[in-house]
Amino acid sequence: MGAKLNSEWEPQLLGFLCKWCSYGGADLAGTSRKKYPPNIRIIKVPCSGRVDPLFVFKALQMGFDGVLVSGCHPGDCHYQTGNFRARRRIAITKKFLEYMGMEPERIQASWISASEAGKFVEVVTEVTEGLKAIGPNQLFDEQRP
Amino acid sequence: MSIEYRVSSFEEYRGGRREASKLKTQNSKLVRKKDIGSVLHQWSKDYTIFVPCNEGDTAFTVHGSRLTVYGLWDGSDINLDWYRNTVTPPKANFLPPLEEMFRFQKGKEGHSMELPFEPGVWSLESGVPLPQLIFGIRPCDARALSLLDLIFTDAYQDPYYLPRREGAVLVGLVCLNPYDSCFCTSLGIGPGESDDVDLLLTDIGDEFLIEEISDKGKRLMELTAGLKDATEDDTARANEAKEKAYGRVTRKINTEGIKDRLLSAFEDEHYWEKVAAKCIACGICTFLCPTCYCFDISDEMVKKQGARFRCWDSCAFALYTKMPMENPREEKWQRVRQKVCHKFEFYPMTFDVIACTGCGRCIRLCPVNWDITQTLRLLD
């Protein structure tokens, strides 16, 4: 864990991106050669509604510094209601884990459509900066400094 | 790897060991309660000392209930007037809820394994491994450890449990205020039973009477300064206190022929379904039972380094016996039956002794008050 305190530490962000919208947005950002922080690792999910709070918690337990769940804008879900359900889940997960003592910056959600490459870049940049500000995830380390 | 030694019965196994270690003539000493700290201090040079302490005091609970556990002695004076028994049984000191068995790693040359430093020894912060001394263990819990010895010795020697056990010293404390859930006297153990401890303490007011029970206890006493010899009057007072405590254990079970009664009830599905109906199949009664020993083994690996762990497991969980295609104890009543029969039927069949010491934890701590003594009473 010593490496984490190193000044060269870069946050690791795990993104669960809906395959219909946000993943498209990320793809577009790539193909249109927009620059965004390389800190994000992406898992494509069929819908933001597929993201179980368990995934989010597990990612943080495994050492990711932050998690981003991203789906279609309200009303645009490919499956009509998936992102509305996701919204409820994310809301309680974020609020509840915050209550348990997790920094709220570590759990993030966004609506990004397939055409919003710019918004994707913006969100990833902001979230990465936010994570840099709060520092590495040492929540599950045996002893915290 | 062939089986080296089979334990045939509790008496046979223990008979020899007890003969070897038990003293012909028993000496008794006295220690003032306020001097216990200094005695422990002397012992702490050779032992890691565990004493009953209250975790509940530091826990964030509006309910100030005592959560008594064996904790590492912090060097301060101790007063045990409040102490009745722990929630976690002392088996946790020998078969910890979780322990690392060994580590492994994958390198260029393949896998290699490494045992944790001195498997089976509690190491102090200084890194010096010392055997444990458990201060204030109740006679029922001490008997429970003797019962656990059987399973960990039989057939294959357990390399984690046994070394801890062999080094350890048990300083028993006569149980003057048993709980209403205790039924030790039905199982041949009294609140003043001395068979399974090395030293036995009895509270006789301002002092403890210390009886030397085993060789190990005697040696420990020889190294201890500042004790008085006990008079006959002191011994008489201690005996009286034990007698009284014996009478305070009012809960009873009938162990006469219990093995056979359970055997004939084994197939009685209706009976087991009835008694199991309210059980919630949690692990409290088994995890906190001083004689339950079941464990699970699991691996964890991060990158190329990992370790194999063992941790407590319980027959109350369906997953415990689940195989891919079927589960021999899928139903709750089957698991309840296993728990009861293991203690009162299977253990007697194998080792000729009941694997229950009447400590009452399973009754006291059960969230729905599932009471094993009532279950057994239905078979009378």
Binding site: L54, K58, A91 | I280, S298
Partner: protein
Amino acid sequence: MNSDHKMQQKLRHEAKALLEQDKVDLIIGFEAGSLKFTTTPLITKSKDDLDRLVINPFIVNNLALFLPDFKGRIAVASKGCDSRSIVSLIQDNKVSRDDLVIIGIPCPGMIELRKVEKLTGKDRDELDDIIREGDKVVITVDGKGSEFPIAEVLSDNCLACEFPTPQDYDILLGEPTATSQESRVKSRESRVKGQGSRVQSHGEGGGLQSEASPDSRLQTLKAMSPQQRWEFWRKEFSRCIRCYACRNICPSCFCKRCFVEESEPRWLMPMPRWQENLMFQAIRNIHLAGRCTDCGGCERSCPVNIPLRCLTKEMYDLVDELFHFKAGMDKDAPPLMTHYEQEEAEDLIR
């Protein structure tokens, strides 16, 4: 003759009638436990057992727990929180309302033995008697009785209870408990205050937060920094032995196979390490969002005194705050997580 006794007589009578008239196959209620001041679930098909049914201040278990285990028509004795758990189970299609006869107990609150033990400095079995008399309780130790306000020994969740009278019932054993409007208001106030204290420093307005406030522990926690809170839970969960009593006593934890038992993928190791214990409880609480009725069973059953209600109550309040949802109020309403509103919780999303 106190009201518990009257309710008890009526319960026995009604239960007998239900069995005799073949309206139900099974009765689930409480009988005296084998230890002082405890009760134990009575699950029976036999009329002869019904004289053992009791109602007293110690009928703490949430009997909704047993409903999915049995087939057939069941009559179940049910306090306010139990009835909400039953409704919640109906919402989740775990039981059918048609198979149930709910015998409602207007609940005056349950006595928390751990509080009595703290108050008297004695263990449960060392007490001679505990008698509730209206809003007082008389505790007798060594032959000497002392009187305390009942609020000092009631469970936290009972002090915070908004709906002591069952929400849905077929038979009600007494007059509805005066829906303690007062306690409802009080709990709302304290919640608002609790939120406030997230930003404000703790201690402000501390005069209003009496010791007896059922949610004072939550407020203390909320006043801490996130680091302190995490440290707090880390410490609490390092005691957890993973006996799963909290899960198994909970009527809302009805999954046939819990996520902790999955082996592929293995979400968490089956070992009592604080990291895993904490994750288990966090996810369990998230799964219970909109199902937990604050019956307090998990904290009561924990053998190592982990203050679990400080988690469940927060979730209970959260779903109310975010989605204006209270568990188990309307059997025809969809479960919280299967439903949504067009406009809600948007401020949490970028």
